[in-house]
């Protein structure tokens, strides 16, 4: 009968519910119990620990003794090495820690997206690329380092890589490599050594030989290099929790236009390939990529292997060396509920990011070390790819914490430039769109959007900086008085955009002097008020 069906269905549901609900129920009190213990431990500590906490950490060795089951995510290539390094740690550490490690191949590029999906099921220790730091902090997938650990990071690593592990005042991870940058591999039989400094010469060589240039410019990590090369900057400002507060960015400027012209030179060539892979076997003679492709490319090119820092490009007679991002790969410790295990994991992480382990990675894969001593080691210095990376470092920018959406927005600059005709207007439009998109994502407050600013050839600027104004009702007055010569031109614009700007034609100063700029937003009338 139908009733029986109903009862059966219901009973099955009960069973499944009991299975889920019951399981969860059992874990809820357990969570509570677990939560209580570390809190007590933390409170009890000050009585005895006091200020000597960092010193205590070493002495606490006996407390850490034990066996720990640990999951580690390492990039596929490094799985075996990591296993043997963990074994070495087990036999060498004096704290009695035994790590029972499962090492899984998870690429450092995917670490964040995996961790964010489910922190509790994620690895205890994992490799990740620097740009994911803020996402991981936001997901609470990184533990703040204790004092001793922070000191370890600061003392042993190069300045740049220390910054990479930092958010606000605190440190969140251990630098593992300092090689997350890119430079140029080339085929010596196509590009002669004397040409490697000039983008134009390289393009000409490749076009002549019918070979491609692989340079993944439709990726913000790569195209930003052109802008850094012409002196632009793009920095995000974060608070202590790693939340983004603001962006300071001038890609949409005259210098940015020069960079855009440089990009256009390359992407408008038929031999340009948007790829960061080791493409020498499939028609490329130049590939811009990093140390991770070193072994493959060495194999592909054999005797014709060449490696160098990025070239320069020429616009209006001036040379601009292409810049790049330089970053780190880091080792993270997932937040633990058990402080003892947490401390043991930190010990392991310090070992894995120490000098010896880093040198082993140089030897096996050519990964550039972040550890100071390892960096100065002859083994590192003699590696040609790492040498090229070092040469490029002079022009590179330390990769800051970057808002996740920026990558999607900034990569489009190249897409737009490629689709354009290369004229100044078209390139400017691409940059303007970039700026608008950033502003939109960043949800500028109404205050900023409604505020008027002065822009023009005022106070040493050249239509590239917005000088703030303050409102009193409809009357806006510039915060500073400007020294202006006759012929100085400017406008007052709203929200750093051109939709609302006064006067319609540029305001031209007739008589030199020091003035405040005043705007009646209701009528759009601009006047100069002599200062003093």
């Amino acid at each position: 009968m139908k009733k029986i069906l109903a009862i059966l269905l219901a009973a099955l549901m009960v069973l499944s519910l009991a299975a889920c609900g019951g399981g969860d129920n059992a874990s809820t009190p357990a969570d509570g119990g677990g939560a209580a213990a570390p809190a007590e431990g933390g409170e009890a500590a000050p009585a005895e620990g006091g200020e000597a906490a960092p010193a205590e950490a070493a002495g606490a060795g006996s407390e850490l003794a034990g066996t720990y089951d640990v999951t580690i995510w390492a990039p596929d290539a490094a799985v075996d090495l990591t296993k043997s390094q963990v074994d070495a740690f087990n036999s060498s550490n004096e704290l009695g820690i035994t790590i029972n490690a499962t090492v899984e191949p998870v690429s450092e590029a995917d670490a964040a997206s995996n961790m964010i999906l489910d922190v509790s099921a994620g690895a205890d220790l994992y490799f990740f690329a620097q740009d994911q730091l803020s996402r991981l902090i936001q997901a609470n997938a990184l533990t703040k380092l204790g004092q001793a650990a922070a000191t370890f990071v600061k003392d042993n690593n190069t300045a740049g890589s220390v910054l990479a592990a930092q958010a606000g005042e605190d440190y969140y991870a251990y630098p593992l490599t300092a090689d997350n940058g890119y430079f140029m591999y080339y085929d010596k039989s196509v590009v002669p050594e004397e040409d490697v400094d000039s983008l134009e010469a390289i393009i000409a060589d490749c076009e002549a030989a019918g070979k491609n240039i692989s340079y993944e410019l439709e990726n913000a990590w790569y195209n930003a290099g052109f802008f850094f090369g012409t002196g632009c900057h793009s920095d995000w400002i974060t608070d202590d929790q790693g939340n983004f507060i603001a962006i300071d960015d001038d890609f949409n400027s005259d210098a940015g236009l020069i960079a855009a012209k440089g990009i256009y030179k390359l992407v408008s060539s038929p031999i340009y390939v948007n790829s960061g892979n080791a493409d020498f076997a499939s028609g490329s003679a130049v590939v811009v990529t990093g140390t991770w492709n070193y072994a493959t490319i060495l194999d592909q090119l054999g005797d014709n292997f060449g490696v160098a820092d990025l070239p320069s490009f020429e616009v209006d007679g001036a040379e601009y060396h292409i810049g790049s991002y330089r970053g780190c790969k880091l080792l993270a410790v997932k937040p633990q509920e058990d402080p003892v295990k947490g401390a043991a994991l930190n010990q392991l992480a310090q070992y894995l990011t120490g000098k010896d382990c880093q040198l082993q990675r140089v030897e096996e894969f050519g990964w550039g070390p972040s550890n100071k001593e390892a960096h100065d080691d002859p083994l590192t210095q003699e590696n040609p790819a790492l040498a090229a990376l070092d040469a490029q470092n002079e022009y590179s920018v330390m990769q800051p914490n970057i808002h996740g959406s920026w990558w999607d927005i900034a990569k489009v600059i190249t897409t737009d430039i490629k689709a354009s005709d290369g004229s100044d207007d078209a390139l400017k439009a691409a940059l303007q769109k970039y700026e608008d998109s950033i502003a939109a994502v960043f949800e500028m407050t109404d205050e900023v959007r409604n505020a008027f600013t002065v822009i023009g050839t005022v106070a040493g600027t050249n239509w590239d900086a917005d000088l703030p104004m303050t409102a009193d009702g409809d009357i806006w007055t510039s915060n500073d008085a400007f020294e202006m010569e006759a012929g100085t031109e400017f406008k007052c614009r709203q929200g750093k955009a051109w939709d609302v700007a006064f006067p319609a034609d540029n305001f031209v100063v007739e008589e030199a002097g020091t003035y405040y700029v005043q705007l009646d937003a209701a009528s759009g009338e601009v006047t100069l008020v002599p200062a003093g």
Binding site: K2, A19, C20, G23, D24, W73, P75, D76, A77, E104, P105, V106, S107, A109, D110, N114, L117, D118, A121, G122, A123, G276, N277, A278, D279, A281, S282, G283, W292, N293, T296, D299, Q300
Partner: protein
């Protein structure tokens, strides 16, 4: 006169047949080439990345040896277990479902079918996150991904009853009624009369259920979640084509592709007859 016209028709026929042969040959080549390429590349040992030629300069089995030394064995076994279990369980579930909906007229039948039609309009992709969490609560993720994937695959398979229902609809109802008059219970009718007639659709269902798990990678990747021992072939091999691995693993990927495709294809070709009957009998009628 009459004969001439006949001749003309014949020539016309010959011309059109020749054209068709040419077209068919072209089509066959287009359809087969990628697979031939994969096979050829799987034997290339002079390099492991993508190259601009098809025929290897050096032949060898290195890629297959690499496969043997990687976790591929485990992935293959996982997939095989999932495929086998799904083949059995999904077939049972779908046959129950489709037979009932085709043969019985009960009060909730119409609403139920409409309800499932509506459910099918929701993009399944959406529910992956929640299914992952449920499985994770049940402890069926990561290393235990295999039972987890079987559970989810089987539990939601009832929705795919259309094809086999279409097939059951083609079996005349008078058969059931005759048996019922003779005093057979419903169960006996199903077991003794319908099932033997439904052999093509049973095999079709088994075959499709068996083939499904070999290509499942989006949800399987969620469920296995960074634990290599829980991967199936698709998840594991997909990672070989990511940017940091493609240069080392491209030819290994091809070798893996061959190993995955060959048994499935052979099985498929052996049972092709039933598959065709199932598709034509069921697919268009649901």
């Amino acid at each position: 006169m009459n004969e001439k016209r006949h001749m003309g028709l014949r020539t016309l026929n010959r011309i059109s047949n020749t054209t068709i042969y040419i077209l068919l040959i072209i089509i066959s080549v287009i359809w087969l080439l990628p697979f031939i390429f994969i096979v050829l590349q799987s034997f290339r040992v002079e390099s492991t990345y993508q190259v601009g030629y098809v025929i290897p300069h050096e032949w060898g089995l290195q890629n297959y040896i690499n496969l043997w030394n990687s976790d591929f064995k485990r992935w293959y076994l996982n997939t095989f277990i999932i495929a086998l279990a799904s083949a059995v369980l999904i077939t049972v579930i779908q046959l129950c479902m489709s037979y009932t909906l085709s043969r019985f007229r009960f009060k909730l039948r119409g609403p139920m079918m409409r309800f499932m039609l509506i459910l099918g309009m929701f993009p399944g992709m959406l529910t992956m996150i929640i299914l992952y969490r449920v499985l994770s609560d049940l402890g069926l993720t990561q290393a235990n991904a295999v039972p987890g994937l079987i559970l989810v695959g089987v539990a939601s398979s009832g929705m795919g009853y259309y094809v086999s229902k279409g097939f059951f609809d083609t079996i005349p109802k008078s058969l059931d009624e005759a048996a019922r008059v003779d005093g057979a219970t419903r169960f006996q009718v199903l077991y003794k009369i319908i099932l033997p007639l439904a052999k093509p659709i049973v095999i079709y269902t088994i075959l499709t259920a068996f083939m499904g798990p070999w290509g499942d990678f989006v949800f399987a990747r969620y469920v296995a979640f960074g634990t290599s021992s829980g991967y199936n072939v698709a998840v594991g091999m997909y990672s070989w084509l990511t940017n940091d691995q493609i240069a080392r693993m491209y030819t290994t990927f091809c070798a893996g592709g061959v190993i995955v495709a060959v048994p499935v294809t052979v099985l498929f070709l052996c049972l092709q007859k039933y598959y065709v009957e199932g598709v034509t009998g069921g697919a268009v009628k649901g």
